[in-house]
């Protein structure tokens, strides 16, 4: 036996303590998912009402807004990648990044340059390691995003979208440059078992008109806008963008926790298997040692008996 009993016992012990950690992380992730799902549900009414208001304005007035106008010749696109702050979540971050790379490749083939915006430390590390520039990044909130973060991200992206020749007064910070469209790549939480990386175009906005088509007997509401339609839209659309980003962040948070729970469950199962294997090996080694000792004793006794028999 190559490894000693002591060594195997030490390994069993370290795997056992690792198992305790992964088990704890699994349970923490499991309890947080429920909270994350509740947060996502709690945010739904705001998004729903906002969508209703936006589609009301879009349907009952014909005001053009910069955020909904398609640029004629888009040259530059921004991608916001929503990753996690911490690892130990299986392929969660890498699959989002892969999806983002795929989107970037597609946009490049359409002749657009890419600006990357990142949420989450993992994505930041990925780009830093490859020495690629990042226009802006936000970290430290991936498993519990707040609306304030969503607003900050939304404002930065809207600024980048609005900036350029039309609005020379907007100054961008850092590496950011004016873009013609904005995409978001995040992980959609379908269920506890299925989370899929998704890419959506955020800007220019495509407002779905008349989410609920009015019934025949229902009178179409003729909205009064205060102060006026253009100004209402002006205030409404940035919020709509923010709430879409908030939605993406919440979905990503729930997905991250689900991915972590699954990864940690797999780790715990593996640890259990390892413990079983090491215990068996240790038992085997111990038994081999005992057998060897017995055969040594028996051999020794025999040799002694032979020696005494020979001398008599």
């Amino acid at each position: 036996m190559a490894t000693s009993v002591r060594e195997l016992r030490a390994r069993t012990k370290s795997v056992t303590s690792m198992k305790k950690i992964t088990r704890a992380m699994e349970l923490i992730a499991a309890s947080r998912i429920i909270k994350a799902q509740q947060r996502a549900q709690a945010a739904a009414p705001y998004a729903r009402e906002l969508t209703r208001a936006v589609s009301a304005v879009a349907t009952y007035s014909n005001v053009e807004h910069a955020l909904t106008t398609e640029p004629e010749d888009p040259k530059r696109a921004a991608i916001l990648i929503v990753t996690s702050d911490r690892g130990l979540a299986g392929a969660y971050s890498s699959s989002v990044l892969k999806e983002a790379e795929r989107l970037a490749e597609k946009l490049r083939s359409e002749g657009k340059e890419i600006d990357t915006y990142i949420s989450g430390r993992k994505g930041e590390a990925y780009f830093k390691f490859r020495n690629r520039t990042v226009a802006a990044s936000w970290t430290g909130h991936s498993d519990q995003p707040t609306y304030d973060v969503a607003r900050e991200i939304g404002d930065a992206l809207i600024q980048a979208f609005l900036a350029g020749e039309d609005n020379p007064e907007i100054e961008l910070e850092g590496e950011a440059s004016p873009v013609d469209e904005v995409h978001v790549v995040y992980t959609r939480f379908r269920s506890m078992l299925v989370q899929e990386p998704t890419a959506v175009r955020l800007l220019p906005l495509e407002v779905v008109e008349g989410e609920e088509p009015p019934k025949a007997d229902e009178v179409l509401p003729l909205y009064e806008f205060e102060p006026d339609a253009a100004e209402v839209l002006d205030a409404l659309l940035p919020r709509y963008v923010q709430s879409r980003i908030f939605f993406a962040l919440l979905q990503a948070a729930a997905s991250e926790l689900a991915a972590r729970q699954r990864a940690m469950k797999a780790a715990t199962d593996n640890a259990e298997e390892l413990i079983k294997k090491y215990t068996r090996l240790a038992n085997q080694a111990r038994q081999a040692g005992i057998t060897q000792e017995i055969s040594e004793i028996v051999g020794g006794v025999n040799a002694l008996a032979d020696a005494t028999a020979g001398s008599e």
Binding site: R39, A42, A43, P45, Y46, E49, L50, R52, A53, A56, V57, T146, Y147, A150, R151, E218, P221, L222, Y223, E224, F225, E226, P227, E231, V232, A235, L236, R239, Q242, S243, F246
Partner: protein, 132 residues
């Protein structure tokens, strides 16, 4: 009374604060205070930081602090959308006063939009808490 009621929802960005039936809603829009009764014409207006006053179906009144948001009225449904919203009984008056002081202190140094927003929000909360 049944035909004099409206369905009201007060929604903050991260949660539904209140929903139920009400007979009157008073809110402050950019154009001034508006009072809304049942069967009001459809309206979409911008609100400024301030308080929203709602008289419920039972005749009780509650007050909430809201920051800039929207008021949308259609078919006897009112939704009040605001990034932050707090019911008056949830507001910690001491806390709000401290926030206001801090906002004032910060605002004197740099009079940017963020400080102004913090100040307005603190003021709205204090007003809502004191009005009860």
């Amino acid at each position: 009374m049944a035909d004099k009621l409206m369905q009201v929802e007060l929604v903050a960005a991260d949660r539904l604060v209140w929903s139920g039936e009400a007979s009157m809603v008073i809110a402050r829009t950019t154009e001034g205070d508006v009072g809304i009764l049942a069967n009001h014409a459809p309206m979409l207006s911008l609100m400024v930081d301030g308080v929203v006053d709602v008289t419920t179906a039972e005749g009780e009144t509650w007050i909430a602090a809201v920051d800039a948001g929207f008021l949308s009225v259609a078919n006897n449904r009112i939704s009040i959308l605001s990034e932050h919203a707090e019911m008056s009984h949830d507001i910690d008056l001491e806390n709000a006063r401290a926030d206001l002081e801090r906002a004032h202190a910060a605002g004197e140094n740099n009079d940017d939009a963020e400080a102004a927003a913090a100040r307005a929000w603190a003021e709205a909360r204090i007003r809502a808490a004191e009005k009860v």
